[in-house]
Symmetry: C2
Subunit: 199 residues, 2 copies
């Protein structure tokens, strides 16, 4: 047999299907949970259950939270006139971890992709336009990934926003902190050079 | 803030504490579960719940299963007179994956360790002696890890079993399949040479 069968086998198979886990780490994880039933397995079940029951996407920004609108959209101390457009909720979390942005977000949910049949309608670009019409903003920051898809999408969104009287910016490209020039790709180095700043 | 808070933050923290997962993979996993509520999150909760309710250690061998005695101990097609001693349930699973062993097991639950205060009593060596007295065996195979702790434990177990009229064997040491001599440690190569077999 390929591994434990029955209930444990079902658990291992289910864990192995999760992102970042393979058969080996799933077995290890299952064993850990089985041998730590009271201090790991049951609390995990409870936490997962709470999240499954409570979590909902925010109708305003697309963030995931236990309330709709989400905590960020309800937070009155945040600037409502600054809107940061991100691809995924994970990117929103990454921005929040910096603690450097105190505006609101708009989660596209992906990038334009002709191959996968994802067009402007699927990304909710119209909802984004409606959002900045209903709650006027002074600046839209396009915080999309520096990939081909991300930048294509950023250009498209910027074009669509051109009609609205709103400043559109994007994240800076350049040498990452702690980065060594010798290990950097040519594109990044070229971008960093052309966008050089006075000391 | 260091990441999402509230219920999602609690989930991420709990996931990050599991073996093999760090903060980054925990966030990724949490997001996956949140965005696949019906085809991943809820089934996972159900499977974990079933396992939490049903799983129990086998009183005969120490394996984890939904029944006691476990499926292996109850399987009448397996040889009851061959006993394979392993350190952990994970090692039992590894042996079972080979499909090469059709006897029964005895899980020690660890190795002797003066540092951690684990002596013969904690490992249940007496239970092992009792086991081979109640259900006589012709051979005990010591399938312990080829680590210092594993081999120390193997020697101790072998000594304790010397009184019983039972053959005691251990797994062979040698070149692993697919292994290249140039990359092999000296100890393994020495063991492989001294244990060489006629072609």
């Amino acid at each position: 047999m390929a591994g434990p069968d029955g209930a444990i086998g079902a658990l291992v198979k289910r864990l192995a299907r999760l992102p970042g886990l393979g058969p080996r780490s799933a077995r290890r994880l299952a064993l850990y949970l089985l041998t730590h039933r009271d201090d790991a397995l049951r609390p995990l079940i409870d936490t997962l259950g709470e999240v499954a029951a409570a979590i909902t996407p925010c109708s305003q920004c697309g963030n995931l939270d236990v309330s709709d609108p989400c905590g960020i959209c309800r937070d009155a101390t945040r600037r409502g006139d600054l809107l940061c457009v991100v691809e995924q909720v994970a990117d929103l979390w990454a921005m929040e971890r910096t603690g450097a942005f105190a505006g609101r977000y708009f989660v596209l949910g992906g990038t334009l992709s002709a191959l996968d049949g994802i067009g402007p309608a699927e990304l909710g670009i119209d909802r984004l336009i409606a959002r900045i019409t209903e709650q006027p903003v002074v600046e839209v920051i396009l915080a999309l990934n520096a990939t081909v898809d991300g930048q294509t999408t950023a250009h498209y969104v910027a074009e669509r926003l051109a009609a609205a009287s709103v400043r559109v910016s994007r994240l800076a490209h350049g040498v990452p902190l702690g980065g060594e020039l010798d290990y950097l790709d040519d594109g990044t180095l070229t971008a960093a050079l052309s966008a050089r700043r006075p000391m």
